[in-house]
């Protein structure tokens, strides 16, 4: 069992999505994370083990490499896509409750902002870190965040903005959320966002990269 779990982890780290994917060239025509996750379940691997022993450590390695600037956005996207392919096979077990996740993370790009590459990377990294992710998409208002939070009151919230014109909307959203739910944790990120800004608007955490977000969430889950 460990062998196939190890292979899944290798595929996720390498960005080997499925058998037909040409990347990486060294793994051409080999099974990818998609096929291997399916096979692992067929062979009797527990979904928890696929998550805990393959996907989470693989994505943590990916996140740490990105933080250390050893890999870049394209590689992260490939790994995240490989992870998502494997994760599809685990979703029925999440829905049935057989496999538990660490918690819920609600994320969105704030009002007026349509940029989502960074937000999507964080979403995928957090999902790969064992969390349920509710991705509200882009141009998300306070009302949408609050609606999602009302359905998952214990969720941690993530706000993303790329623009100086839209990061100001983070302030309002943080205030609106804290007014309704003062104990909810809110993290912020995006190119123009800084620790100072996070402090100024009353958010709880700032991360300049996706792995930082995962580490923070894992700390909260302890």
């Amino acid at each position: 069992m460990d062998d196939i779990l190890n292979q899944i982890a290798i595929c996720v780290e390498a960005g080997k999505i499925n058998k037909t994917s040409p990347y990486p060239p060294s793994m051409k025509d080999q099974d990818g994370a998609d096929e291997l996750a399916r096979k692992a379940l067929e062979q009797g691997c527990k979904p928890d083990d696929i998550l805990e022993k393959a996907l989470i450590p693989a994505m943590a390695n990916v996140g740490n490499k990105f933080s250390r600037k050893e890999i870049y956005v394209p590689q992260m996207l490939m790994s995240a896509k490989a992870m998502s392919g494997a994760m599809m096979h685990l979703k029925p077990y999440f829905q049935s409750g057989e496999t538990k996740r660490k918690g819920t993370f609600i994320i969105g790009t704030v009002t007026g902002d349509l940029h989502d590459i960074g937000k999507n990377l964080v979403s995928m990294m957090v999902e790969g870190g064992g969390w349920e992710v509710i991705d509200l998409g882009v141009d998300v208002s306070s009302e949408k965040f609050l609606k999602a939070l009302s359905e998952k009151p214990d969720a941690v919230i993530g706000l993303s903005a790329l623009l100086t014109t839209t990061m100001e909307n983070m302030k309002k959203i943080v205030a609106d959320i804290k007014a309704k739910s003062s104990t909810s944790k809110i993290m912020v990120g995006g190119a123009p966002v800084t620790q100072d800004y996070c402090n100024k608007i009353g958010a709880d955490f700032y991360s300049p990269d996706p792995q930082g977000a995962v580490n923070y969430l894992n700390q909260l889950a302890k």
């Binding site: 600037k69 956005v73 996207l77 141009d139 300049p208």
Partner: protein
């Protein structure tokens, strides 16, 4: 006799100390000013109140006309293509009211609709019978591309699909460019031209905003992944695209000659706030040869300087940009990792021109006090303008929400320096 703008520009881009600081606002689509600020500038200078012409609608940049060039003491004027990024001809201007209530002028074919949320949808070539290509959120200040990536199936991608927008220059386009430069006769400003066709994998252009039914690789994430997973295919796109580009430049040069001083080559962003979008090795393999092809042709056949835009933390790429043949780097994002201005000037100041970097648009300019802006502008100019090699601009476009008192502070500082 004092030096005029063009003379000073030529000094600074050849790394000689200009007699006066050289300043650009509005000569390119990455050194521009949002229409809201244009209106405020016109009011500040006591110019006639009239709707601002939206010369670049994707980012809602307004026309920096001769009146503003005079008042702001701008040294560089820009020439742009006959059509905007949505493929709509820049003609037959009509008045519209923006979401924030400003009266502006859009081209006659700038047809848009509203979705149920109140956001504005824009269409390729203004054709509302096809799927929209861009959206401005109701609380936004400019457009963003809508993803129109068609499924990529196992039967493979066709090169032609990603080259659809890169055709040979037409006779009417050549006539257009001739008219553009002819209109500059006796103008003593430097001239920057955005001739088109030379941007390699510019993520703003990958979605094919001007195409009614874009095929091939058109999604942002799909493109980034393709630089890894379909490297050979991307390389072929660049090979063919630059063949077309060089042929076009040859024809364009025959009609405009050396009456422009610089050409905007590419706006592909290689940097993030703290890192890059690929390794230097990937850049050297995938982009460098093709940039060099275009830049070498220009340097062998013209006197034009070549301009590269790249946001982000690109310090380790600057030697590669130089090797690629770029004369100018923009916007010099001074708050990104490794982009400290004195360090850049020390390392590269005699080899590449810094066009931008004048004030931090993510920091002091947007959120600071006027005195901070003034101090920063003066400090940046002192560092970057030493021995030339500098054209002042803000780090990228002046955005809609910049406090106008900070814009005034910047202009006052520039006036003092000049």
């Amino acid at each position: 006799m004092g030096s005029n703008s063009k003379m000073n520009f030529l000094k600074t881009v050849n790394h000689e100390q200009p007699d006066r600081l050289v300043v650009d606002f509005g000569s390119t689509g990455v050194t521009g000013i949002h229409v809201l600020i244009i209106e405020k500038l016109r009011d500040y200078y006591g110019l006639e109140k009239r709707p601002v012409k939206v010369t670049e609608p994707y980012q809602m940049l307004g026309e920096v006309d001769n009146e503003l060039i005079r008042e702001m003491d701008i040294d560089v004027i820009g020439l742009f293509g006959a059509k905007n990024m949505f493929g709509i001809p820049n003609e037959n201007w009509e008045q519209h009211k923006t979401l924030w209530g400003q009266e502006v002028l859009f081209p006659g074919d700038f047809n848009y609709t509203f979705n149920n949320n109140g956001d504005i949808l824009i269409y390729p070539e203004g054709d509302i019978s096809v799927a929209p290509c861009g959206i401005m959120p109701k609380s936004g200040y400019f457009f963003d591309a809508l993803e129109r990536q068609q499924p990529i199936d196992g039967s493979g991608l066709r090169l032609e699909d990603n080259l659809e927008e890169f055709g040979l220059v037409s006779e009417s386009e050549l006539n257009y460019w001739k008219k553009q430069v002819d209109s500059l006769r006796d103008n003593d400003k430097a001239v920057m031209a955005s001739l088109g066709g030379t941007a390699l994998g510019d993520i703003a252009l990958v979605p094919g905003l001007n195409l009614k039914n874009p095929k091939g690789i058109r999604g942002v994430a799909e493109w980034y992944m393709s630089t890894l997973a379909r490297e050979d295919f991307i390389r072929e796109i660049f090979e063919r695209q630059t063949d077309i580009a060089v042929e076009n430049l040859r024809k364009i040069f025959r009609v405009i000659g050396n009456r422009i001083d610089a050409a905007f080559i590419c706006g592909t962003d290689f940097g993030t706030q703290t890192s890059t979008f690929c390794s230097p090795e990937t850049y050297a393999s995938l982009w460098l040869p093709y940039y060099k092809k275009v830049n070498d042709w220009i340097h062998r056949n013209t006197t034009w300087k070549t301009f590269k835009h790249s946001c982000g933390a690109v310090e380790q790429f600057i030697p590669l940009f130089i090797e690629s043949g770029f004369d100018i780097i923009n916007p010099v994002q001074i708050n990104a990792s490794g982009m400290e201005p004195q360090s850049l000037k020390n390392k590269y100041g005699d080899k590449i021109v810094f066009w931008g970097g004048g004030v931090d648009t993510q920091g002091a300019f947007a959120f600071g006090k006027p005195q901070e802006v003034k101090d920063q502008v003066k400090r940046q100019c002192e560092i970057l303008n030493k021995n030339g090699g500098f054209v002042f601009n803000t780090v990228h476009n002046i955005q809609a929400n910049v406090p106008f008192k900070n814009v005034v502070a910047m202009l006052e500082a520039l006036k003092e320096i000049k």
